[in-house]
């Protein structure tokens, strides 16, 4: 019994903790990607697939909803920058909404606020 529970506990422990989630929805032709959690070097890797799926619609309007985004590092900024570049190349439109004050500071500080339109819903 002890052995089994130990294996179970290890499995739980080793399983990567989900600290980022992206939910993509199409609302009247606008693709809304809602981010939840921390967007840093490891988590930016985790959501590659979702981002690829989002970029299929780079010729449309994309909104990055960051209401539940708690933190962003340069890896996260680079991901956002990639979305912007792809959308710009394919003639779409991208904006960021509901960015928390502390996360917005990172955009301002690194100068990335110049690359995006920000709004609150």
């Amino acid at each position: 019994m002890l052995g089994n529970s130990s294996i179970f506990a290890t499995e739980i422990f080793l399983k990567p903790q989900i600290i980022i989630m992206v939910d993509i929805k199409n609302e009247n032709g606008v693709y809304i990607a809602s981010f939840k959690g921390r967007l840093d070097a490891p988590t930016a890797q985790e959501i590659q697939e979702e981002i690829e799926a989002l970029l299929v619609h780079a010729d449309k309007e994309i909104v990055l909803d960051c209401a539940k985004l708690e933190y962003i590092s340069s890896a996260g900024l680079r991901l956002f920058l990639r979305i912007r570049k792809e959308v710009s190349a394919k003639g779409g439109k991208v904006s960021i909404r509901n960015l928390a004050h502390e996360v917005k500071d990172v955009f301002v500080l690194t100068g990335f606020d110049e690359f995006f339109d920000f709004h609150n819903s």
């Binding site: 590092s73 890896a75 900024l77 680079r78 710009s88 502390e102 500080l109 100068g111």
Partner: protein, 548 residues
């Protein structure tokens, strides 16, 4: 406006960030992004916090390696305003050379192109690397995240209400502290790290404020590599301290792109290497002048003047129509092109300098410019020709003054070979000087050849004539058994344009034609064609020592 009396570059930058907060500062020509001075100041602030988080201190070396861009400019300003020592490295160096240079200069941090992400094997990277393309960590990891976290925390603590123009503060520099470590590519061997103190650039900025247009609303178009001192000092640093809007060309300066940009930007003055003007003249003016009818009309006195005026007008419009003058430097201008520019009364001048002087040594305004000259001693500089008869016998240009470097980094021998006991810097260039103090360069001392009759031969003069009076684009003149041989190269592209092949070119006829333009002691005995262009340094100078 850059005040003639103010010397602190960093205090001037502080002022300009505040004064020009809402004005445009940097644009990558052709892109849709323009940074205002406020955006530049904020990114500089971020870099400072990042440096602090990494434990980098003023005086530490920070390498910047990439081609021209707004981000390059921001990175450079961040390093300078932190009073770290900037080490600009040309991206043309191979990975191995860059690694060697980074190790040689003891860089603690590197801002580079993403192609250098694996410059050091994983885990052995002695530096935190930032990609100059977007100024973000090059290899995101838990370490980079940790450093950034620290920087963000510092920001929240220091600027709880955000970063405003009142918070821009840069400590004044100490003139004797090291500002830049600039590697000269060395056409003869290994690169040398030129140590330039702040006083060198302070003095160069004084010269610029005195000699160049000086207004807050200047538009500038940058095509020179900003990592070279010529472009760095007078295209970038001077114009930023004036509060100008800098449009940066991030691509190869093809004539078509440049001419389009001139029309859109209308720069207030323009810096380039002679090759750019040579291409413009060869493409736009020479074909007109070479028409048989034009040659006849040129002999009619009144018409001659009218044609020159018309050519000048069109050339001026082609370059935006708003520039005070075009300043060329970095290489010799073809005599033929200079003659045409002079004949039509075009506003141009030629300066002379070297990295070791940060860079200016001689200059004159276009109104004073003399044919074949590179001007007079620049402000603050003492310049002379080391010759018993400087007016007639060429001697080495030697110079002294605040623009001068401290020496070569970790190379005392090279320093001693260049700066003599009396403090004169030996440039290695040979020149004569006229009675009014104008200098006329003859060639490099180390390239000088001795003719059969003991006459000094400057191969650069013969090479200029070959390129001016033949189809060849590159030439190196060498001496074999006492005779001059011109090694020549023409590109496949030009051959295609001319509808010919290398084999079809009549080398003997070309040689005879070129010799008509050369003095008797400098006659070429042979033209030897190469199938490949000459090997060059990152600065695009031919590595002449490879050719014998």
């Amino acid at each position: 406006m850059m005040e003639k009396g103010s010397t602190s570059i960093l205090k001037r930058l502080e002022e300009v960030m505040r004064e020009q907060w809402d004005c445009d500062a940097l644009t990558d020509y052709g892109s849709d992004i323009t940074y205002k001075y406020s955006g530049v100041a904020k990114r500089i602030c971020y870099f400072h916090l990042l440096f602090e988080s990494l434990g980098i201190k003023p005086g530490d070396k920070v390498a910047i390696c990439d081609k021209n861009s707004s981000n390059w400019a921001i990175a450079m300003l961040a390093v300078l305003t932190y009073r770290a020592v900037a080490v600009p490295l040309l991206p043309d160096y191979s990975k191995e050379q860059l690694k060697m240079l980074c190790e040689h200069c003891d860089a603690k941090f590197m801002i580079a192109s993403h192609r250098l992400a694996n410059l050091w094997p994983e885990g052995q990277c002695p530096m935190y690397m930032i990609d100059v393309m977007d100024l973000l960590a090059m290899t995101p990891s838990s370490f980079t995240d940790e450093i950034e976290d620290k920087a963000y925390e510092l920001f929240a603590k220091r600027y709880p209400k955000g970063y405003t123009k009142d918070q821009v503060h840069y400590e004044a520099e100490n003139p004797n502290d090291l500002m830049i470590l600039s590697y000269t590519s060395g056409s003869t061997g290994n690169p040398k790290g030129v140590m330039l103190p702040w006083r060198s650039l302070q003095s160069n900025m004084q010269f610029a404020a005195d000699a160049l247009p000086n207004s807050k609303n200047m538009n500038m178009f940058l095509i020179l590599p900003m990592a070279h001192m010529f472009g760095f000092a007078f295209d970038f640093l001077y114009c930023i301290t004036c509060g100008s809007h800098l449009y940066i060309l991030t691509k190869i300066p093809a004539p078509k792109v440049i001419l389009e940009a001139f029309a859109a930007i209308r720069p207030d003055y323009f810096l380039c290497v002679p090759l750019v003007m040579e291409k413009i003249i060869n493409a736009k003016v020479k074909p007109v002048l070479d028409k048989p009818l034009m040659k006849v009309l040129f002999r009619v006195p009144g018409i001659h003047k009218l044609i020159c005026r018309q050519i000048r007008k069109q050339l001026t419009i082609a370059l935006g129509g708003n520039f005070y003058e075009v300043i060329m430097g970095g290489a010799a201008l073809s005599k033929e092109v200079e003659r045409i520019l002079r004949m039509v009364g075009f506003r141009f001048t030629i300066g002379y300098g070297m990295t070791e002087c940060g860079p200016i040594i001689t200059y004159s305004d276009w109104k004073e410019h003399r044919l074949g000259s590179c001007g007079k001693a620049a402000l603050n500089m003492e310049v002379k020709v080391d010759s018993p008869d400087p007016k007639n016998t060429p001697g080495e240009i030697i110079t002294k003054g605040p623009n001068m470097m401290v020496g070569y980094y970790k190379n005392e021998q090279a320093t001693a070979d260049t700066i003599d006991e009396d403090g004169w810097l030996h440039t290695g260039d040979l020149a004569v000087m006229d009675k009014d103090g104008f200098f006329y360069i003859r060639g490099r001392k180390k390239n000088m050849l001795l003719g059969a009759n003991g006459q000094n031969i400057y191969p650069e003069e013969a090479e200029d004539q070959v390129v001016s009076h033949s189809v060849f684009e590159e030439c190196v003149v060498v001496q074999r058994e006492g005779k001059l041989v011109a090694l020549v190269y023409i590109s496949d592209m030009l051959l295609q344009k001319l509808g010919t092949t290398r084999e079809e070119l009549d080398l003997e006829a070309i040689r005879r034609d070129v010799n008509l333009h050369l003095p008797s002691y400098c006659q070429l005995s042979k033209l030897e064609q190469r199938n490949e262009e000459f090997e060059k340094t990152p600065k695009k100078s031919i590595r002449r020592f490879l050719y014998k």
